[in-house]
């Protein structure tokens, strides 16, 4: 989900495009994060994956799928819509509210792993933490992202990072996933100062 103001994330007029991760790379990265989750959580017991729409949702499902393939553990997956918790609601036209779907067992007392595609300013995660606070009381919260592009504006860091991509603010990172966009890819646009 592209959180920062449109001015920063919109590609310049003549963007140079660089593919950072191709389809096979994305799958390998997801596999690695799944392994890391298993390692760091000692087998992903008492754990819930919550995807942040739009692209965190399919990523969370994939992670759960990979985890069940590797260790035969069924990790509950949910969706956490953060629209109503954003700090920039008033800067844009009204945003459509998406569904929040918590897994049947809820999140109280669980280890919740938030899943998103790109970690940038950290404001999306801040909103997600607020939303989480209103829907339950997890035992702990972790963060998994496919791409960390830096430029944090809040004291937030990810527990699981697929790929660190050093960027300038003039550049933008675009993640596409097969479930939504048809292909798995991470691209870097820009570089030419806008």
């Amino acid at each position: 989900m592209a959180y920062p103001p449109a001015a920063r994330s919109s590609p310049p007029r003549q963007p140079s495009v660089k593919v950072i991760l191709a389809s096979a790379d994305v799958q390998r990265v997801v596999d690695r994060i799944a392994h890391q989750i298993l390692e760091k959580t000692q087998g992903a017991a008492n754990t819930v994956l919550l995807g942040i729409p739009t692209r965190g949702t399919p990523l969370a499902r994939r992670l759960a799928d990979r985890i069940s393939t590797f260790e035969d553990v069924a990790v509950p997956v949910g969706v956490l819509d953060i629209t109503l918790y954003r700090d920039d609601l008033r800067r844009h036209a009204t945003r459509a509210v998406g569904p929040t779907e918590l897994p049947p067992g809820g999140i109280d007392g669980k280890r919740v792993i938030l899943v998103d595609d790109v970690l940038f300013s950290g404001r999306t995660v801040r909103a997600a933490l607020d939303a989480l606070n209103d829907v339950g009381r997890p035992a702990s919260v972790q963060l998994a992202v496919l791409v960390d592009r830096g430029h944090r504006e809040l004291p937030i860091r990810a527990d699981y990072v697929g790929k660190n991509i050093p960027t300038s603010l003039a550049e933008s990172v675009k993640v596409t996933l097969a479930e939504i966009d048809g292909t798995d890819e991470v691209k870097l646009y820009g570089g030419t100062a806008s």
Binding site: L84, Y85, R90, H92, T94, A96, P99, T100, N133, D134
Partner: protein, 308 residues
């Protein structure tokens, strides 16, 4: 997104569907331990009620508070100032207080439309005279969709005092936009001659409730306003109840899946018998619950973003 919600006809099918979808998300908040969302923090909603109302005012108040807006209740009842003047002066006062939205109920048809010209904020019509009550139509549509799974193609009978009913007018406009077919049913004295064509082509009129019932998915009973009972619109309350009241035998003539709605407050024994009102087909209590969710959706969509 629209700026005001004044009429059931203000909404096109996409916007109305967006409101209903948003309301469905808002409804999940009611099941939480913390029934509060931060979306309208720091916004001020004024409830400006020139007419008595319990459920609508409380519903709007609950909706605004669940979205963290500040609510100011302004009850103008008993005010002796002449109508046109006082409304404008009140509007300017509200403006000066920085109201982001004004929810208005007024006995004069069209008052919210005038108000919308005077204030910078959004205006929501919470019932104006015998004209419109759009959020009631939205919550009715939401309830139908929740119970029956769809709106397009539904056959809806609106029964009773159509002449004085703002609920009926807003429902005809909204439901026809969303693809449902409405039949207005009542005594000829209480159905304006040209209402069907004037509101929405395709709307039917019938004076015979019994012939309509077997073919509808929804029957919506309107309140017979007691103050009209002596106005010679019908010979007696008992005769009205006999011909247009929904009782047990009539209810059993409805199709198996059909639901019974009433905007409230009910006159039990007049337009609806207790047997029907308390039956599993009745959605009357759900309608009140859904009202809060729908009004949250409306307030969020009007005030949530930078739509000015």
């Amino acid at each position: 997104m629209i700026k005001h919600l004044l009429s059931g006809g203000d909404l096109d099918a996409d916007t109305a569907t967006e409101i209903l979808d948003t309301a469905a998300e808002m409804a999940t908040v009611a099941g939480r331990e913390i029934k509060k969302l931060p979306a309208l923090r720091g916004r001020t909603v004024v409830n400006l009620f020139y007419e008595d109302s319990t459920r609508t005012r409380i519903s709007f108040e609950a909706a605004a508070k669940r979205l963290s807006a500040d609510v100011i209740n302004f009850s103008a009842k008993g005010s002796s100032v002449t109508k046109g003047e006082s409304l404008k002066d009140t509007a300017l006062t509200l403006q000066a207080m920085g109201a982001d939205a004004v929810v208005i109920r007024h006995p004069a048809s069209g008052a919210p439309h005038r108000l919308a010209n005077w204030v910078d904020g959004s205006v929501v019509n919470a019932g104006d005279g015998t004209h419109e009550h759009p959020t009631q139509a939205l919550l009715d549509a939401y309830t139908m969709r929740a119970r029956l799974g769809r709106l397009a193609g539904l056959s809806v009978a609106v029964v009773g005092d159509v002449l004085h009913s703002r609920v009926a007018r807003s429902n005809v406009l909204l439901l026809s936009t969303l693809g449902a077919k409405v039949t207005l049913v009542g005594p000829p004295t209480l159905i304006p001659v040209d209402i069907a064509g004037a509101l929405a082509p395709g709307t039917d009129v019938s004076y015979d409730l019994d012939s309509v019932l077997p073919n509808v998915d929804v029957v919506m009973m309107l309140r017979v306003q007691r103050e009209r009972m002596n106005d010679s619109y019908f010979p007696s309350a008992r005769e009205y109840a006999r011909r247009y009241g929904l009782d047990g035998p009539r209810m059993r003539r409805l199709p198996e899946h059909a639901i019974v709605m009433h905007p409230g407050p009910m006159n039990r024994g007049m337009e609806i018998t207790p047997e029907v009102a308390d039956s599993p087909r009745s959605t009357i209590v759900e309608q009140v619950t859904n009202g809060v969710s729908v009004r949250m959706a409306v307030l969020y969509l009007l005030l949530g973003g930078n739509n000015r």
